[in-house]
Symmetry: C2
Subunit: 332 residues, 2 copies
C-alpha cells in the first residue's frame, strides 16, 4: 500500500462552453466535477493500474465533504483530516477554440494543530506502507517543514518517499532525505535557482535526496544521482491532454520502484541506506520507462488522474519505447 | 409571512481576478459564495426590511446542502424539498476592467414526484401566509403548469400571488389567475410575443392576471390593469450593480401590497375577488414607489439580494421620489 499525501486538495470543476467570451453570460453545456490535487491524481492512476493506495488529505467545508464522498464512490481508501477552512475549488473553462482558462481559488490556511493531525495520520499509516508519496502545492502560508516531517517519518519506518512539490517544500524534502525528489524541470530550476537541470539536481542531491527525477514533458524524463544521469525519452507520437501527465508519471515511477524494492532482500527497517541501496541503474531505468509510459497514457485521456492500463502496457512494450542503455551517461 | 418559491436555486459564486483572460491560469483573489436564485434574492431583501418570509426550494447534492446551511446561517426560514439531481452553481468572474463573465450550469431536472413535493410544501404553508411569491427560472424540462398549480393553491387560500417568471411559466401564472405578474419588459414581450408593453400586459390580463407590473430598469416601473397604466419613474442618479435590482423591486412591491392588504377589511378567505379588490390606484402607486426604492437601494449594493433599509427609506422620502399622480393615465 502506498500512502499518498495531498496537502492542498481541490474540487476540480470543468465547464464546457460553446465559445469562451469575456463579459458575457455563458451557458455551461457540460459540467464535470472530480476530486483534484496532484496527490489524488497520483493515487487514482495507481489504483487504476492495480496498486493499492491510501490517501491522506486535509478537508474542510462543503468542498471537503464532496471530495470525501467522491473518493468513497471511487472506492479509494482515504484518511481525512478535518480542518476549519474551506477546501478549494478550481474551475477550468474549455471550448474547442481556445486554450482552457483555469480559475484557482486560494484555498484554506491550516493551523499548526491541523498540520500535526495530518502528520499523525501519515505516521499511523507508515508501518504498513510500501512507499510515501507527497504531491502538489502546499496551502498558503504553510511552513514547508511539514513535508520534511513526513519524509523523516518515512525514513524512520524504512519507507521510501517520493516528493513532487515545488519551491521551499522541495528543498525541505531533499534536506530531510527524500528517496526521490520529482519536480518538473521548471520547478527544479525555480526551487534551486540553478541555471541548468544538472546543477539543480546536484543541489537537491547535496541536501540529501537519494535520486532526483526530472520530468520534461515531451523531452522525456531523467534520473539524477550523484555520479550519473539516466535518460528515457517521452513516448513518441502521443498527443492529447497534458494535464495530469506529470502525476501519472509519478504514479508510474513509484509503482515501479515499489515493485523493485519489494523483491529486494536488503531493505532496511531502520531508515538506513539499505532501503535505497537497490536503486541501481536497472531499477531506475525501469522506473523511468514506467513513468514515461504512464505519462503518455494520461495524455490520451480527456481528464487528469486517469490512464487506461492497456495504453500503459502498450507503451511499455519493447517495440514502442526503448531507453537505449547508451543514453546512460556520466555527466561532466 | 410571505412564502417565496425559488424553483431553480443556485450556489452563486463570484471570483475576483486581476484581469480576465481566456486560455490562462488565473489566481482567484477573492471568493464570495451566496445562496442564489431570484426567489432567494427576494426573500433576503424582504427579510432585511423586516418582513418575515419562508423559502420553499428544491435542493439536491452538495450545492443544495450548502444552500440549506447558508440559509440557516442567515436565519432565513426555509422548507427544502430533497431532489435526486444536483443543485446548480453559477460562477461570475469579475475584475475592474471588463464586464463580468457569468458561467451558468444547466441545473437539475426534477421528476413529477419531486414537483408534487414542492407543491405540497407550498400548500402546507399557505394557510398562514400573507402572500405567495414565485420568482426565477424553472429548471430544464419543467412543465410550466407547476407554477399554475401554486397560483391556484394560493387563490384557493385567499392568498395573493406575485409571479416573476418568464416564458410559458409567466403565461401559465396569468391563466391561473395570479394577482400580480411581474416580468421585466423584455420578458413580457418575449413571453407574449407582443410588440409593445401595453399589448403584452393586456394579453396577460386577458388570461386572468389581476395586475401586470412591468419593470424597466432605469425607465421606471408600471402597473397595468384592464383600463389603466400607473407609472413610477426610477430613482434618479443611482448607479452601481444592477444585478438583483429587479428582485429587490419585487420584494418592495410585495411588501407594500401585503401591508396594504393586511389593513383591508374585505379580504376574502375563499379566493374570490375580495382579496384583490383593494388593489386600487393608491395601493398600486405606493407599491410601485416601494418597488422603485428597493430596486435603487439594491443597485447601491455590490451583490444581489441585499439592500440597506436606510437607502430604501431615503428613496421613499417625498423629496427624492414622487410619482406624479398626473402620470396615471388611461391608455388609448
Amino acid at each position: 500500500m502506498i500512502v499518498v499525501v495531498t496537502p492542498n486538495p481541490a474540487v476540480d470543476v470543468t465547464y464546457r462552453v460553446a465559445e469562451q467570451r469575456i463579459g458575457e453570460t455563458q451557458r455551461v453545456l457540460d459540467v464535470a466535477r472530480r476530486p483534484g490535487g496532484k496527490g489524488l491524481n497520483v493515487g487514482r492512476v495507481l489504483d487504476a493500474t492495480g496498486t493499492a493506495t491510501h490517501a491522506v488529505l486535509p478537508l474542510g467545508g462543503t468542498g471537503g465533504r464532496w471530495i470525501a464522498e467522491a473518493l468513497d464512490a471511487l472506492g479509494l481508501a482515504h484518511t481525512d483530516v478535518g480542518i476549519g477552512g474551506e477546501t478549494r475549488t478550481t474551475v477550468t473553462v474549455v471550448d474547442d477554440l481556445a486554450h482552457p482558462t483555469m480559475l484557482g481559488e486560494p484555498g484554506p490556511e491550516l493551523g499548526a494543530d491541523e498540520w500535526d493531525a495530518v502528520t499523525a495520520a501519515v505516521t499511523a499509516l507508515l508501518p504498513g506502507a510500501d512507499a510515501l508519496v507527497v504531491s502538489g502545492s502546499l496551502p498558503r502560508a504553510t511552513d514547508p517543514g511539514v513535508v520534511a516531517r513526513w519524509v523523516a517519518a518515512a525514513r524512520h519506518h524504512g519507507v521510501p518517499s517520493v516528493v513532487d512539490c515545488s519551491g521551499d517544500a522541495l528543498l525541505a524534502a531533499a534536506s530531510a532525505g527524500a528517496t526521490v525528489c520529482k519536480p518538473n524541470r521548471e520547478e527544479l530550476l525555480d526551487a534551486t535557482g540553478a541555471d541548468d537541470e544538472r546543477s539543480g539536481a546536484r543541489l537537491l542531491l547535496e541536501r540529501g535526496a537519494t535520486v532526483v527525477v526530472v520530468s520534461r514533458g515531451s523531452d522525456g524524463i531523467a534520473a539524477h544521482t550523484a555520479d550519473r544521469v539516466l535518460d528515457v525519452p517521452a513516448v513518441p507520437g502521443v498527443s492529447g491532454n497534458p494535464t495530469g501527465a506529470g502525476d501519472a508519471a509519478t504514479a508510474g515511477l513509484v509503482g515501479a520502484l515499489v515493485g523493485a524494492l519489494d523483491g529486494a532482500p536488503d531493505r532496511a527497517a531502520d531508515g538506513g541506506p539499505g532501503s535505497t541501496a537497490v536503486l541501481d541503474d536497472a531499477v531506475l531505468l525501469h522506473a523511468l520507462r514506467s513513468a514515461a509510459a504512464h505519462g503518455a497514457a494520461a495524455v490520451l485521456r480527456p481528464v487528469a488522474g486517469e490512464v487506461d492500463p492497456a495504453d500503459v502496457a502498450r507503451f511499455l512494450h519493447p517495440d514502442h519505447d526503448h531507453a537505449d542503455p547508451d543514453r546512460t551517461r556520466t555527466p561532466a
